[in-house]
């Protein structure tokens, strides 16, 4: 299967942090008895893949299965649902979006006061989760509770779309980090050169929790985190504020809010990319963070690199990436893993 086909199927699944079951089941189904895996106590999938050669170093790849979303906190007397965000969501992307609530995907809309009825002051303020509710079309608490329960997770209604030139730009919710999962599935399918451990982890968006436990169990010497990272390359943002750019290849980080990355691996990534002609860029703003933050301080310390896809509108219903970057991350991850075994 192609990486983008894995990605499309993965993005169709709901997996808000703490509720990653559907994504986990899909990943296990793709291992189809051929690969040895364990599900750890928190729900992460750890796959130990035998390579064509035994490995000199214990290497772990990691990507997270969970996505940002919402969680129902209260069912109001008028049938509307109060909610909290799960993971960092800018409240400006909430109002007027369609959502699906719970396992049965009950349709709803994120609702508030009509624009005509706002005061001048309210018009200047972004509506946030304190004032917004989810309307599922029920007029009282009783009928709403027949459809949903407190604690149900909520995803944006956002179908995977291919658009732009040659339909090679993709838009969906949950690309963060199903893209990393898709690349790992492709790497497993292709069977790596050396023995490698692949961790599909839970709860990244609520504090890098799954990776902390999984890294302990996997016990690696080296780790490569496959992620998506903020591309702010829109016309209103200046060059130094763009972080990275869609279409300019794999993003290799030197530092983010959780990690100062291993310098040798950082350089190795750029050398490898140059040698193999893989488009590659760095992250030009110290912002965000990923599972590397938990992994590099696991046990006695793990030498860690992050290779990410540049992704616009991260943590929104409409994350945007390009096919060429997906390929670049896949190729760089593969080359880098072989190179690490030469150390």
């Amino acid at each position: 299967m192609r990486t983008d086909e894995y990605l499309e199927e993965l993005c169709a699944l709901a997996g808000v942090s703490g509720d990653e079951g559907a994504v986990r089941d899909y990943i296990i189904s793709k291992l189809s008895g051929e690969f040895e895996y364990t599900v750890d106590p928190l729900g992460s999938v750890i796959v130990r893949v035998k390579g064509r050669n035994p490995a000199k170093h214990r290497l772990m790849f990691s990507a997270h299965m969970d996505e940002v979303g919402l969680i129902v906190t209260f069912v109001c007397s008028d049938g509307c649902l109060k909610f909290s965000s799960v993971g960092g969501i800018d409240s400006r992307v909430l109002y007027g979006k369609r959502v699906f609530v719970g396992k049965d995907r009950v349709p709803g809309v994120i609702a508030g006061t009509a624009v005509h009825n706002l005061s001048d002051e309210e018009l200047k303020t972004a509506p946030d989760e304190k004032t917004l509710v989810i309307d599922i079309g029920c007029s009282d608490k009783e009928s709403a509770e027949k459809l949903v329960r407190q604690g149900d997770t909520v995803i944006f209604d956002s179908e995977f779309a291919r658009f732009g030139e040659n339909n090679e730009t993709y838009c969906s919710r949950a690309i963060d980090d199903r893209a990393g999962c898709a690349i790992m599935l492709k790497m497993i399918e292709d069977v790596p050169e050396y023995d490698t451990t692949f961790c599909f982890v839970v709860q990244e968006e609520v504090g890098l929790r799954g990776a902390k436990a999984a890294a302990y169990t996997a016990d690696p010497e080296f780790a490569i985190v496959l992620e998506t990272t903020t591309a702010a390359d829109i016309p209103s943002s200046k060059a130094e504020k763009r972080v990275c750019e869609v279409g300019k290849g794999a993003v290799v980080s030197f530092m983010d809010r959780h990690t100062l990355y291993d310098r040798e691996l950082y350089r190795m990534a750029f050398d490898t990319a140059a040698e193999k002609n893989i488009p590659c860029q760095t992250k030009s703003v110290v912002a965000g963070g990923n599972d590397a933050g938990a992994i590099h301080v696991s046990r006695g310390g793990v030498r860690t690199a992050a290779v990410s896809l540049p992704c616009r509108y991260l943590h929104s219903p409409s994350c945007v990436i390009e096919k060429s970057d997906l390929e670049a991350v896949y190729r760089l991850a593969k080359e880098l893993s072989a190179r690490i075994q030469q150390l």
Partner: protein, 336 residues
């Protein structure tokens, strides 16, 4: 079906679709303004002519600038609620006069990782549409192309949510009323005006009503339905039936006749009192030619001017029932 159509697709657009839907009730014509006018059934000189009006345009955006990297700037076409825009998906309609090409786009947003202050509402000026088309955007898309957030209808509990329910819910109520009237004797000659340009200031209704022979007019539009946190003295109830208008600019006689019709038939209704202008096509139609006594009949809607507008289908049905009964002469003002 009504909510999946728009005015920007050629040759099949909302006006031609509506003309097609009216064809079985009478001869329907579209005019140069994008209006649809239809004389329903037989028109006899001894009867007064009643105009049933709803608008078929919808709020949208319009492309104002295209940059080298495939991003578009847009302006408002009607009072779209800008708060819904960040990270929304859109369709861009490009016409060459004969056919329409559609392009997909995403409205930009800045992720929380880079925000300093996310409490300020988004401004249209800060947003772009990402087409993914790069340099090609300039060849494929033109300034002036229209842009929509194309949410298709979706059932949600007892409600239906979709784009453009303002005012397609009312177009539907009028069509349902006409269906109920097939083969029945009416107290009036019935004319239908599905007007364009309401969201920009009744630009279709003015010439449309001028071309009609109306003596009386009922204007069907949506009104604010109560949403979470609003009290019952503020806005109409969703599911409470048609909201019959009362206003100095409307005909009190028509208001009373509609109210009586609803009461006699036991149909649910509510009263919407306005202190002056109604903010609908009624304001223009009432002063067309020598004056046309008018009244508004409104369907309560939630989240007006967003792509997730929602109505209760019972309100649509009850509005249609009230309209049909009124046309039959439930409480007639025909012979005053």
């Amino acid at each position: 079906m009504l909510c999946t159509q728009n005015a920007y697709t050629v040759p099949q657009n909302i006006a031609t679709v509506c003309a097609g839907l009216l064809e079985k009730f009478g001869k329907a014509e579209t005019d140069g303004c994008g209006n649809v006018l239809c004389k329903v059934g037989e028109h006899r000189p001894e009867r007064k002519t009643l105009l049933l009006n709803a608008h078929i345009d919808e709020i949208a955006m319009i492309v104002t600038h295209i940059d080298e990297s495939g991003f578009l700037k847009v302006g408002k076409c009607g009072g779209i609620d800008v708060r819904v825009l960040p990270a929304s998906r859109v369709t861009i309609f490009h016409n060459d006069g004969k056919t329409t090409s559609k392009y997909y786009g995403v409205l930009t947003s800045v992720p929380p990782h880079l925000q300093t202050d996310s409490s300020k509402a988004a401004k249209l000026d800060d947003l772009f549409i990402d087409t993914g088309l790069g340099k090609k955007a300039k060849e494929l898309i033109s300034q002036g192309d229209m842009v929509l957030i194309e949410n298709r209808p979706l059932e949600m509990g007892s409600l239906v949510t979709a784009k453009a329910l303002d005012d397609r819910a009312c177009v539907m109520a009028v069509l349902l009323a006409l269906e109920k009237l097939v083969g029945k004797e009416t107290a009036y000659n019935i004319e239908v005006l599905f007007s364009s340009g309401e969201e920009l200031g009744s630009r279709g209704a003015k010439p449309g009503a001028f071309k009609s022979n109306a003596d009386l007019a009922l204007i069907f539009d949506v009104t604010f339905g109560r949403v979470h946190g609003e009290s019952d003295d503020e806005y109409c109830a969703i599911g409470g039936g048609a909201a019959i208008g009362v206003s100095p600019v409307l005909s009190r006689e028509l208001t009373n006749a509609l109210t009586k019709t609803a009461e006699n038939a036991g149909l649910p209704y509510q009263t919407e009192v306005m202190g002056g202008g109604t903010g609908t096509d009624a304001d223009a139609i009432a002063v067309t030619k020598g004056g046309i006594p008018s009244c508004t009949v409104s369907i309560p809607i939630k989240y007006m001017h967003t792509p997730v507008e929602a109505v209760d289908m019972n309100d649509v049905e009850n509005t249609a029932a009230l309209t049909a009964l009124f046309c039959e002469g439930g409480d007639t003002v025909a012979n005053r």
